[in-house]
Symmetry: C2
Subunit: 218 residues, 2 copies
């Protein structure tokens, strides 16, 4: 009973995600599902990316949160269009919520769409949304054991951003160990070391993003 | 359909939690459900607490994780009994898992049981386990907006530990703002500022724990 309910839910999610992906492709929008633990720096990353790329790409944002509009208020100040989705009692965005969000957005006005997922290193890995790439932010204060403890998130992502490297001198974080663990789970994954505070690595991340988008553009 | 499945699940959880609580009370064990985001410092807190209290209280541990035995391996080195529960595809411990764990533990040998929940600021708030007190760890690098963004966790807890205060000079974290937000959600909550690295505040937290335990002991 439990398993069949779960299978139905996940099957329905896959079907809705495929529909979202078709809509995004038709509209020429490259979409990123951005995931992490609470407070790893997803919103700061979006802000730095908007600042670096706003003259090159038209960027839209979906903000997923349990409650509040704190993140969308921050991002809106950068002059981009933002849609807030509050998921209430759910622990992740799903394809149905994102589909409803896409229907409210002027997709033809975007080249790139960030979907900032709920802060959670578990549930968001289980739901595809229709995105082109999955990106996970792991901040150094969370510790270098996280890929081993939360393997699905790192297995299912196309890119891992090691954020808050400016704090490295104050932490015991083994970058070699964490990269080995991530590549053990996911050999093809791209990894960047960044700091949204100092700007380190933001250029390289933005270059990757632009290149990945070109790879799928018609 | 969705709602009734959910109601059944939560109703069953409540019933099993009540059974766990009776067993704990009968065995004279004071139980803490310890929750936080990934990497906030739950395991380090348990280790510091064991070191501070091991001559006063007999302490047992249940470690809840998605995967791996990293945390239980760390805690076992302190000479305490530890049971690992790997929750797999679930995003939290629940009363059924904890009940199965309690059946395997020599409860009469413990005065205090830490149940370290899965690293997640959302799901664990929804499941009572049979614990006497709920404690949430919020580490400063996660940011001072977390209570507003994840209100259920802070509303449902008896105690909030603001951890990693040693990193405060390198962060923009407003302690007054976060305490006001937490007390706005939960006026009676106890809040401590601690650092498991420097030991700051650990004494005050342990004193609270001992006192809370005495309050319920027969």
């Amino acid at each position: 009973m439990k398993v069949s309910v779960l299978k139905n839910v996940m099957g329905a999610n896959e079907a809705l995600a495929a529909r979202n992906r078709e809509l995004l492709d038709r509209s020429g929008v490259f979409a990123i599902d951005l995931m992490s633990s609470p407070g790893a720096g997803k919103t700061s990353l979006i802000i730095e990316t908007v600042r670096a790329l706003k003259d090159k790409l038209r960027i839209g944002i979906i903000e997923g949160d349990i409650a509040s509009t704190i993140d969308s208020d921050r991002v809106r100040k950068e002059g981009v269009k933002v849609l807030q989705i509050n998921v209430g009692a759910e622990c992740s965005l799903d394809a149905n919520m994102v589909g409803q969000g896409l229907a409210k957005l002027p997709l033809r006005e975007f080249d790139l769409l960030f979907i900032e997922n709920v802060g959670n290193l578990i549930c968001p890995a289980e739901f595809t949304l229709g995105e082109h790439r999955r990106v996970v932010v792991l901040s150094l204060p969370e510790g270098d054991d996280k890929p081993v403890k939360y393997p699905l998130m790192f297995t299912k992502s196309d890119c891992v951003l090691l954020n808050k490297v400016d704090l490295a001198p104050h932490l015991e974080f083994n970058t070699v160990k964490v990269k080995t663990a991530i590549r053990g789970l996911n050999p093809g994954v791209k990894i960047f070391e960044i700091s949204c505070k100092t700007g380190k690595g933001v250029r390289e991340w933005c270059d990757w993003l632009v290149k990945e988008r070109q790879g799928i553009a018609r």
